[in-house]
Symmetry: C2
Subunit: 441 residues, 2 copies
């Protein structure tokens, strides 16, 4: 496949946006992509931000032709734990029809399908690319950029591939995303580390207190989040929507995760819990001695990363407020608790049958030989809500990844058949769009 | 002071017994001490073990003279977190009458007082030294060594300085120590790290589950340990013993720890909680992403170090069994829990008024100008119970450290006045012992 060699180059760049040590690599990824787009006749602009640059590119052929805006991100998650990768995260390797590398699926591989689809394409469509390097840290600078450049970004449809198909060989159109609130919680006890013999019995222990706090955040028996008001704005799923949903193969999911039960909020199916219910998960915890053997210390501090996935109509800022207030309330006496808000993103619902969704459905059916299923996704793409609102344009979420792509985990991969059919689908979409337009009423 | 220069040499050796990288340094500390004892006329033997050597030394002057066995340890705790040390842990530095270094108080400084006390001492006392390099990891090889060498170790009194005085300028005789059970708990959920968006709502989260487990180990409101049977063998404190106890300055303790409350088991005074009540403390916790910024991961594993301080008549093995059984019982469905037993030590009570205790009380009063107070200690010295039993000899616990010595923490220190008066006290003890004997009935 012609598209593979350049993708391997793209994946070899360790553009880890959260790690200051990789700042130059993130920039290098933006420049690499900019070169590729220029070779396809685009004009490109690198917009500097206080952190990582935003790449904007356009190729305008006819003011009367429909305009497509493609969004993607060239940054990736940190690769740790490194020891669990079969091949190094930034030495992309093809095995059994898949390319393994950090960012293979999230999002370099999927973004690259949109670029590769334009190779030799003859279709009167105006194209714009908006590509950021801060998606994995919550798009702090993209959102103001979108608000400040509505005119430049104006489009008839927004295309985004940064998600997964419902199942292998199952073309999927996504019409919903969860939002996110991500906090860091730091807990302080005594003013210095203490010997657990000399002081055990009178010393605050921030690790123990984190345990009490975690138990009060989420109920063990029911899996319910206990933050007051947390569920207040959750929109229930209509019967009509529920009928649209495909069946989840729970047995396959259990096998994939290597678990016997799928723990979660009582009273909801696993699919509803993934797509339409909010969650709370600690994503990291630390404190005291983590080395080999034993150390009899009561640490002065402990901490955790804590995130909540949100659904319409929850608001990330409001949920962060509720969580912060509750955390302070349940912090046991004798401890000082600090909350740092790391990032957030609003949840999204779009019309599954908008005109561009119908066009993409046709392109998918032609390429895959079967009509798409309609799905929500549990993940978050912070910019989607913003683009939808700022541009008043319909968004098409075309996930090309798979749920076993190991996003944010060791051995991330992207199936080459999805790259190939993704490219074919996008080419077909542009041709259909040029031929038929969007039928604006 | 003549005794200071060699102590600084001793402290400069990074004899961290828990860290395999320091294996040679631990050995170096044993050899250094062996040299010093030989210079004082001792014969020395280095007994190899699978890990760190045991140093045995003796200087026998007269079969009819009383025999003293000194126990100490030449290994030290790990020095992390390194960033919090004012001067490096293995570059001993004297400031304001204190020597700062890892091991300054625990136990190199206190052990050194026993060696320095012999310089030029003329007293007909047989002396034996038993010094190990594995105290900080639970003395796994010393205990079998003691059992196997009862005859060689036979003594009329065992002297140990590896603890603290009750308060500054307050000579203290210690007659009780807590025991210890130290476990590592590992919790596994899914078979790989998962994206918290794609799987949040169906994925087990070992960090959350650790929280639930911690909350079920120790009750938030009362501070009670909830392991069934945990308190069954705890011996209540008699009224007679309670009258022996000095008053604890709780205000000073709060100030020292930088806390407004002294959290602990409801219904007991802080002093009783420190000396005569068992405790449970997590000493370390880890899982998921601990770096800068955010990573939206649900980790496959999390873990913690968990220790319990025990009091007579609790048994470390039995408590480990109880804890392990309970941990498996409260492990939520969908998780696999593993327990690794790291080490343990039995609690100790001795007769506060045994003949050698009375002699040491007199020596203390002569040197410090005031009679000693009688105290228990919250810490653990695993070998004490063993020596007491194997040798059937009374043990004198003469703590020369202070409670603010930062044991097991950054900026460990030892007050030079305690070194000096400790040396004088021990010289006087040997002289009194040679002159009066122990008055065996």
């Amino acid at each position: 496949m012609n598209a593979l060699a350049p993708l391997l180059e793209f994946l070899a760049i360790p553009s880890v946006s959260t790690d200051p040590a990789h700042k130059e690599d993130v920039r290098r990824a933006a420049l690499w992509l900019s070169e590729r787009l220029r070779a396809l006749g685009f004009t490109t602009e690198l917009h500097e931000t206080p952190l990582h640059p935003i790449l904007y590119a356009e190729r305008l052929v006819d003011p009367k032709a429909p305009t497509v805006l493609v969004y993607g991100h060239y940054d990736v998650q940190p690769p740790d734990p490194l020891g669990l990768w079969t091949t190094p995260p930034f030495e992309p390797t093809v095995r059994e029809g898949k390319v393994f590398a950090r960012g293979a699926s999230d999002d370099k591989g999927q973004l690259w399908a949109h670029v590769a689809a334009l190779e030799g394409l003859e279709a009167r469509v105006n194209l714009k690319f908006l590509v950021e390097g801060e998606e994995e840290i919550g798009s702090p600078h993209l959102l103001p950029f979108v608000r400040a450049h509505r005119e430049k970004l104006r489009a008839d449809v927004v295309l985004i591939s940064d998600g997964a198909m419902f199942a292998p060989e199952t073309p999927t159109l996504t019409y919903g995303l969860r939002g996110l609130t991500y906090l860091e919680v730091r807990l302080k006890g005594a003013r210095r580390d203490l010997h657990s013999g000399a002081f055990g019995g009178v010393a605050p222990n921030p690790i123990q207190a984190l345990g009490w706090i975690l138990a009060r955040l989420k109920e063990e028996g029911t899996g319910q989040v206990l933050i007051p008001g947390f569920y207040d704005r959750v929109r229930p799923v209509s019967e009509e929507e529920r009928r649209l949903w495909p069946a989840l193969d729970e047995e396959a999911l259990r096998r994939e995760l290597g678990v016997e039960v799928l723990p979660g909020e009582a009273g909801y199916t696993p699919l509803e819990r993934l797509w339409a219910r909010p969650t709370l998960d600690p994503n990291g915890v630390w404190g005291g001695y983590q080395g080999e053997g034993s150390k009899t210390v009561i640490p002065a501090e402990a901490g955790m990363k804590l995130s909540m996935r949100l659904v319409p109509d929850q608001d990330p800022e409001e949920v962060a407020e509720l969580a912060e207030r509750y955390l302070q309330e349940i912090c046991p006496p004798g401890y000082r608790l600090e909350v740092v808000r790391l990032h957030g993103g609003r949840p999204v619902l779009t019309d599954p049958f908008s005109p561009p969704m119908r066009l993409m459905a046709r392109a998918l059916e032609e390429v895959w030989g079967r009509p798409p299923v309609y799905a929500r996704e549990g993940g978050t793409i912070p910019v989607v809500a913003e683009l939808q609102e700022a541009l008043s344009a319909p968004v098409v979420l075309l996930g090309l990844g798979l749920n076993d792509d190991n996003l944010h985990a060791p051995n991330e991969k992207f199936d080459l058949v999805n790259l190939e059919k993704g490219i074919a689908t996008l080419r077909r979409f542009h041709q259909l769009l040029a031929a038929q337009g969007l039928g604006h009423s």
